[in-house]
């Protein structure tokens, strides 16, 4: 770890330092800036969350008052409930869609490359674009419902976008469309790395395709499944742009999510202390997902290292 300094004998340390100054700067300045901003900005936001700051940050200490105020607000409660529903529905459905797509693509079909590109292209587009487009398609007066009405089926109803109870599902739909391809890419890589010898042995034993998937292939995919779920959860927790463009939290505050609450408190209501508290709560939700995952990865690695 410390083999960096290969000082040649006879050369004074000071001139050596000057000579190597450019490389020290190039190594340390970017890394230090990056690391320092991550640590100090997190602590800074944490500190603001304990102060009575409103329009501008001020010093002072209010203990957990900002946290209790945020947790007691209807806005946050709806956002949190929505996150639970959106997070679980989106993660399960996009993982399932991705797995089905991967299995279908893995059947040695023609045009696999084209199909894969089709399922992955939404990932190259911004959530603002995705949200805007789906807000048109799902708008009952403009999109799918209007089309079906124009075709003659006038009692057809698909108005989730303006339905308080169902609006959150429009975000689930758009999010699945946008990111199932990601799950597909990871699952496909997993399917391709299943040991060919095991499959051959099972075939010789007379296992059919259904049995093969159930007994051998799918069980070997579960580490990848956990990775997919964690990454999609991480995305769900910080979802902002998609909702902003699709429903803007509406109708009313029916599709509010934590990231929107943070933005609203910080920049629309100028309640910096509460906004910071909401941001810290978001981080805690994220840690509740990531820390068990990190622990699991650690155990996996140790087990792999020790055979």
């Amino acid at each position: 770890m410390t083999n960096a300094v290969l000082t040649r004998p006879g050369r004074p340390a000071a001139t050596e330092l000057v000579r190597r100054l450019p490389e020290y700067l190039m190594i340390w300045v970017p890394l230090l800036l990056s690391a320092a901003h991550l640590v100090s900005f997190s602590l800074w936001t944490l500190w603001i969350s304990f102060t009575p700051s409103t329009l501008v940050p001020v010093s002072g200490w209010v203990g957990l008052r900002n946290y209790t105020a945020v947790a007691a607000s209807r806005n946050w409660q709806i956002a949190f409930d929505n996150l639970l529903l959106f997070g679980s529905a989106f993660v399960l459905l996009s993982a399932a869609t991705g797995l089905i797509l991967a299995i279908l693509l893995d059947q040695r079909i023609r045009g696999e490359n084209v199909l894969r590109s089709i399922f992955l292209y939404p990932l190259a587009v911004s959530f603002v674009v995705t949200g805007t487009v789906w807000s048109w398609l799902l708008n009952p007066g403009l999109g799918i419902q209007k089309l079906v009405h124009d075709l003659g089926w006038t009692s057809f109803k698909f108005d989730w976008l303006i339905d308080r109870d169902m609006a959150i599902w429009t975000i689930v739909i758009a999010a699945i469309w946008q990111s199932s391809g990601f799950a597909m890419a990871l699952f496909l890589a997993g399917l391709r790395s299943v040991d060919a010898d095991i499959i051959k042995a099972a075939q010789i034993d007379g296992a059919g395709p259904a049995r093969m998937y159930r007994r051998i292939i799918l069980p070997s995919l579960w580490p990848i499944t956990i990775t997919v779920v964690v990454i999609q959860l991480q995305f769900a927790i910080s979802t902002f742009d998609l909702v902003r463009a699709l429903t803007n939290g509406g109708p009313g505050i029916a599709t509010q999510l934590p990231a929107l609450v943070v933005y609203d408190l910080m920049f629309q209501r100028s309640l910096l202390g509460r906004g910071a508290a909401a941001a810290v709560l978001m981080l805690l939700i994220l840690l509740a997902v990531l820390l068990p995952y990190a622990a699991w990865r650690y155990v996996q690695r140790r087990r792999a290292a020790h055979g």
């Binding site: 939404p122 990775t227 941001a279």
Partner: protein, 285 residues
Amino acid sequence: MADRNFAPSRILIYLAVSLIAVAWLAPLVVVVLNSLRSNEEIAHASMIGWPQQWAWSNYAAAWSGFCVAETCAGIQPYMLNSALVTIPATIFSTMLGAIAGYAVSLWRFRGDNWIYGIVTLGLFLPQQMRLLPWTIVLRDIGLINTLTGLVLIHTIQGLSFTTLFCRNYYVAIPHELIRAARIDGAGFFRIFWRIILPLSGPILIVTVIWQFTHIWNEFLYGVTFTTGQQQPVTAALIALSAAVADIPQHGVQSAAVIIAALPTLLIYLLGGKYFVRGLTAGAVK
């Protein structure tokens, strides 16, 4: 084996993938078609339909005509803003990330594991935890509401990704190569230029595509730290839909959406392989 392609199960598989592929393409097709229909035509029918007359003028209006607030310059100035943020920030973060990744993986120095560990935490830390500090810092150094400010943010934040990508690629390079070069008297920069950089082609493409796509598509920082004429195109699209909410111009809006999505879509079409590699490389961290 010849009849395998005609077995009923094969037909079902092809039917299923084709149907899903159509569903995945439908939103894009709908918007492309709408961008070629007049606002009136869409208002009379629905968003989903074939153009009666090809309204190519939507693109001219979207590019340089429509109004957001008092300015009527179309989407063009915001596209320029996005380009002026995305291109420098992509170049800086990739360059610095390559050097940092090289230093951390092959050069090694005291504390390298520690600082690398902290830097990669940036992959997970929500943007919301950095919004207020960035606002204060940008205001203090006079870069609030400037494109330079956004370049600075995206460069520093992008380092977490670019360092990780490059480091994971460089650890596979044999250390003996570096050791031999150092014995020959080559320094940090000479080894980087002569040995590392020529080997870096694939990872630099992955990193550039990843950074470009992410910065171009970023919205939260754009809408928080810039206003009006300084906003990137993602923020301008939201401002546009809000501005025309009373009298929607769906034809022109669709053209604006297509224009805004075009740079990243083109990059995806041209470098899809590298795009996917970045996607999965980020996942297997």
